[in-house]
Symmetry: C2
Subunit: 227 residues, 2 copies
């Protein structure tokens, strides 16, 4: 694991938090009740705090954190433009799915990093209660409105497809992330093995994405929606 | 000055900061460069911090701060819906004008509060560099693009009219704010005087709004736009 690769992952993670901050503030602005507005405003500010903590962590390597974050400015642009949500609840699900998949990916890939760095990342991104909030909102909504729930379930399947496609695109276009994915799969002891290195790496990458898909299914389960 | 009236002003101020947080996050999301995005994201998080400080101040009076803030949930809805901006720079000017007028109003009316409370409010809302940032962006833009500058100047006149109308509407519909406006004008020693109390109060209220208009003109001047 090179330091440069670690910095790339931290940059992606910091941008994921910046995206979350902006998204949650819009959730606040559009929220159906003043109470939801206040909750989302607080979550938005928290996401900003995590971004700052991550850019500070990058700075410890003698690199300007913000200059790394801005490289990921368009990292989720495809996901955003391909999943225009119509209702506030669809927005919340979109954030829940997209941010969770991005975070799960970063956590998984962080397995390629030294233990102490992994722990520091976990200490920063572990502080979120954004998913719990989204899960509570979406569970309540799908319980009270079964028709809407099946629409949400459909939307969730669409979202996870786009989210995984977005992450795959990122990995393909970013050699540092690709190296980390392969190293993480190794470290996690995937049981895939193949005679050629290239084939082996493909299988390991596929294994990472199958894990993300399984995580998503568990998440949808938790809010009472079929994955 | 009753405590209840002070709480109302703090609630309005806290909501102004919540609005600023949400607006600045959207500015970040829509910003033309990644650098502007990071700046606005930081400003958004700072506005949230001020909102929290203000609700904590309300809580010192034994009142739940959030319950006061949510009463002002629609305080700026007319201004928002009547001033749809087309470009990012128009958005920035809209925020600059709207938030500045709201803040100037609150600061002016805070003259009706006891000195120590005034100081505490100033300590909280004095920490913003949002206006400096907007002024820098708008000055640079109007210097580099004179045609756009005259469009912005026109937009600024439209905005201040709507902002003052919004504040007047708030004062008329909120007896606590109306009492504070009259008390502040008294404390500031307006030189208006009239034989009837009602007429006197009308003149004092008008004086407050003429002061806000003058503040706005100075602000537009600073960014090189005709008020």
């Amino acid at each position: 694991m090179s330091t440069q690769d670690a910095i790339e992952l931290l940059g992606l993670l910091a941008f994921a938090e910046l995206s979350a901050q902006m998204r949650l503030a819009v959730d606040a602005a559009l929220s159906p009740t003043p109470a939801h507005r206040l909750t989302h405003a607080g979550l938005s500010a928290n996401a900003h705090g995590r971004m700052v903590a991550l850019t500070n962590l990058i700075a410890e390597y003698g690199v300007d954190g913000q200059s790394v974050v801005v490289r990921y400015n368009d990292a989720f642009a495809d996901y955003e433009s391909r999943t225009r949500s119509e209702t506030w609840y669809e927005r919340v699900l979109k954030g829940y799915v997209g941010h969770s998949v991005a975070l799960d990916f970063c956590k998984l890939v962080a397995e390629a990093l030294p233990d102490n760095l992994q722990e520091r990342i976990t200490a920063i991104i572990g502080k979120t209660n954004e998913s719990e909030n989204a899960a509570a909102i979406l569970s309540a909504k799908s319980e009270s409105d079964p028709t809407f729930a099946s629409r949400l379930a459909l939307w969730g399947r669409r979202l996870v497809g786009e989210a995984l496609g977005q992450i795959q695109g990122l990995v393909i276009s970013n050699p540092a992330l690709e190296r980390l994915v392969i190293a993480a799969a190794h470290n996690l002891g995937t049981e895939v093995s193949s005679p050629t290195v290239q084939e082996q790496q493909k299988l390991e990458t596929a294994w990472v994405f199958s894990k993300l898909t399984a995580d998503h299914a568990r998440r949808m389960d938790r809010i009472g929606l079929a994955a």
